[in-house]
């Protein structure tokens, strides 16, 4: 039974159901409006969806547990931390850090740094590629998007703003 409960589908179902339940209570804040559109107010459609998510999650968990207990679905493997998980965390962390720093450092300075780190992370060995592509691509993107298409890519602040102003 424990192996069935640890099955990823069951865990995800539990998370979905719990999240849906929380949001269901959030819909109370939308209020029962006694104005135009009251009979199908702003809460009805989300409530319908959330109830569906809860029902479907219960259904998925029930069928998975039943399948594991009957031997139709294989029980969960041992959960163990691997190098692959570490690579995923590093990639996600790198992206999150890049996005957080982008308004401060600006696209022009930060993007080559991020790309170099990402290439290393993905296992690129060629130093020629690692130290050429990021700079060429960044400058190309900056020129096309800012000069031709007037997309104001983030410039950063302070010294980074001055560097960005050299190009756009």
């Amino acid at each position: 039974m424990l192996k069935a409960l640890l099955k990823s589908e069951v865990i995800i179902s539990a998370i979905c159901a719990a999240g849906a339940l929380y949001l269901f209570f959030e819909t109370k804040a939308f209020g029962n409006l006694n104005v135009y559109g009251a009979k199908l107010g702003p809460d009805i459609w989300p409530k319908l969806i959330l109830v569906s998510i809860m029902a479907l999650s219960v259904g998925l968990a029930y069928n998975t547990i039943k399948g594991v207990l009957k031997g139709i679905i294989p029980a969960s493997d041992k959960i163990q931390f691997s190098a692959a998980n570490l690579r995923f965390i590093a990639a996600a962390g790198l992206i999150a850090t890049y996005l957080a720093l982008l308004p401060l450092v600006g696209f022009l300075v930060l993007t080559p740094v991020m790309m170099i780190a990402f290439m290393y992370l993905l296992g690129e060995k060629s130093k020629t590629w690692i130290f050429s592509i990021p700079f060429v691509l960044t400058i190309g993107v900056v020129l096309v998007f800012t000069k031709l298409m007037y997309v104001p890519l983030p410039r950063g602040t302070g010294i980074f703003l001055k560097i960005s102003h050299l190009l756009y």
Binding site: Y36, G37, P42, W45, I53, I95, P103, F118, F145
Partner: protein, 501 residues
């Protein structure tokens, strides 16, 4: 007839021909680069038309429009990053096909079907524009709701063996579509007191995140060498006659759907592509194969979105109402030349109207050549190792998400959906239902609520309308049939059983 011949001779002269060819090429390139799209490109080109003859200026704008609608599919097929919203669905089957080493074939089908869809809609537009516009104007909220519901039922087919998972993904997409200010009551929903979510979630960053960033994260975890992806030389292979004949019903159906949806004001090529895809799934004998990389999965949305591009010109030219974002921009092109699109234009400037029809026809022919050229240019990137290509795709994805409204919030949406996409891929939840529901959620909800209000809360108003009722009936029958046949075929199908092979 004389006006037609005069217009033909006018368009076939060197300058308009060059403008058509150049416009299509520019449009395809703009469409292919994520973050740039045909509304943006058309808007940027309007100042260049100031010095041109009105007909030439408008020919250039419509050529960019035609090319841009197709261009997005190139990056959708090659990198799973749609260059334009209307190409979102093309990646569902285009990218798996490219991954299996058939990128050239996928591009060829996309180019040819875009061309055929575009030509079909131009022919329809030039023959029966005013009549079609009148039919389109009779569409009301119940019809829009029926249309959205019909497309949403596709979710039941897309899940394959994982129907419950597909429905959960679809519900999450529908829920995400409710975030922001309710358009009917102005009440904030799921904004948690912040300003960022007030405008809701734009589906383009969500889509780029779920597909492209999710894929990058999956590859990062698996390790580049272990993905088994074979990167071969890509050369566009236009489909042979026999292959096209195999797709004839898909193409014809999608061309009709695309043209009709394009004519509906405000719906546009993106919805047309989703509906076209859903109908292709519905009519297919093997709906479970959609999403795995089959020609029908590319032919349907590509025919549809380009047919919709032509269709969207119908309300513009006949009624002066834009059928899509780009046609709204093209109205600006008319206005700068002192013309007001609408029924009077057919009376006052018939030559100009016919010149536009002919130019759009030629633009779709030129698209074959421009598509092959740009596809070849972009496909060279596929030969690059993923350890180099992955970060490049991420940069384009970031710029693409940012460029929509020049807002970092959209980029964060992309990242969050990237994580969601990663989790969904890892645990075998289909992603397409999430995106389809996110796109169509608002249309379904608002048309239902507005329709109910208009009908004074009488549900029968939805059921007994000739067009809306028929669409609802067909939707219900096919949904019941799909669920029943899957349950009968495989008793365990509702278990959401994983088939990780």
């Amino acid at each position: 007839m004389e006006i037609w011949l005069g217009s033909l001779l006018n368009v076939l002269s060197p300058v308009p021909l060059m403008l058509v060819a150049g416009g299509v090429l520019a449009g395809v390139m703009l469409g292919a680069i994520p973050g740039l799209n045909s509304p943006m490109g058309t808007a940027l080109l309007i100042p260049f038309t100031f010095a041109m003859e009105p007909a030439n200026g408008l020919i250039l704008l419509t050529a960019v429009y035609c090319g841009g609608t197709f261009g997005g599919s190139i990056s959708a097929i090659l990198f799973n990053v749609p260059g334009a919203p209307e190409a979102s669905v093309t990646g569902f089957d285009g990218y798996p096909m490219a991954k299996s080493g058939k990128a050239g074939k996928a591009l060829g089908i996309a180019i040819m079907c875009s061309c055929l869809g575009g030509i079909f809609s131009v022919l329809v537009m030039s023959l029966i524009s005013p009549q079609l516009a009148r039919v389109a104007l009779s569409f009301s909220e119940p019809e829009y709701f029926a249309l959205a519901l019909a497309a949403l039922t596709l979710i039941s087919s897309l899940g394959g063996d994982k129907m419950i998972k597909a429905f959960i993904a679809g519900c999450i997409g529908l829920l995400a579509a409710t975030i922001g200010i309710d358009p009917m009551t102005s009440i904030e929903r799921f904004t948690f007191g912040g300003d960022a979510l007030m405008a809701g979630i734009n589906f383009i960053p969500a889509l780029i995140g779920a597909f492209a960033v999710g894929e990058i994260l999956m590859t990062a975890e698996a390790g580049v060498k272990k993905t088994g992806e074979t990167v071969t030389k890509v050369s566009t292979e236009l489909p042979k006659i026999i292959e096209l004949l195999r797709l004839k019903w898909t193409i014809l159906r999608s061309a009709v759907i695309g043209t009709m949806i394009g004519i509906l004001p405000g719906v546009g090529a993106t919805t047309a592509a989703f509906v076209g895809y859903s109908e292709a799934v519905r009519w297919s004998k093997h709906p479970e194969k959609f999403g795995t990389g089959i020609p029908e999965g590319i032919a349907a949305p590509e025919t549809c979105n380009n047919a919709a591009a032509g269709g969207a010109m119908v309300p513009l030219l006949t009624l002066g109402i834009p059928g899509s974002a780009t046609t709204a921009v093209i109205i600006g092109g008319f206005l700068v030349h002192g013309m007001q699109p609408g029924p009077m234009l057919f009376i006052n400037q018939p030559g100009l109207m016919y010149s536009l029809f002919i130019a759009m026809f030629l633009a779709n022919i030129f698209m074959l050549f421009s598509g092959v050229i740009v596809a070849k240019l972009f496909s060279n990137f596929r030969k690059i190792r993923y350890s180099i290509l992955g970060p490049c795709i991420f940069v384009f994805a970031t710029v693409g998400a940012f460029g929509i409204s020049n807002d970092m919030f959209d980029v964060w949406v992309m990242f969050v959906f990237g994580l969601i996409g990663y989790i969904m891929k890892k645990f075998d939840f289909p992603i397409a239902p999430l995106i389809i529901a996110l796109v169509l959620g608002e249309l379904a909800e608002i048309s239902l609520r507005r329709g109910m209000r208009m009908a004074n809360w009488d549900v029968s108003e939805f059921i007994f309308r000739p067009i809306g009722g028929t669409i609802l009936l067909i939707t219900c029958i096919t949904l019941i049939f799909t669920i029943y046949s899957k349950m009968k075929k495989k008793p365990n199908v509702l278990a959401g059983e994983i088939s990780k092979t």
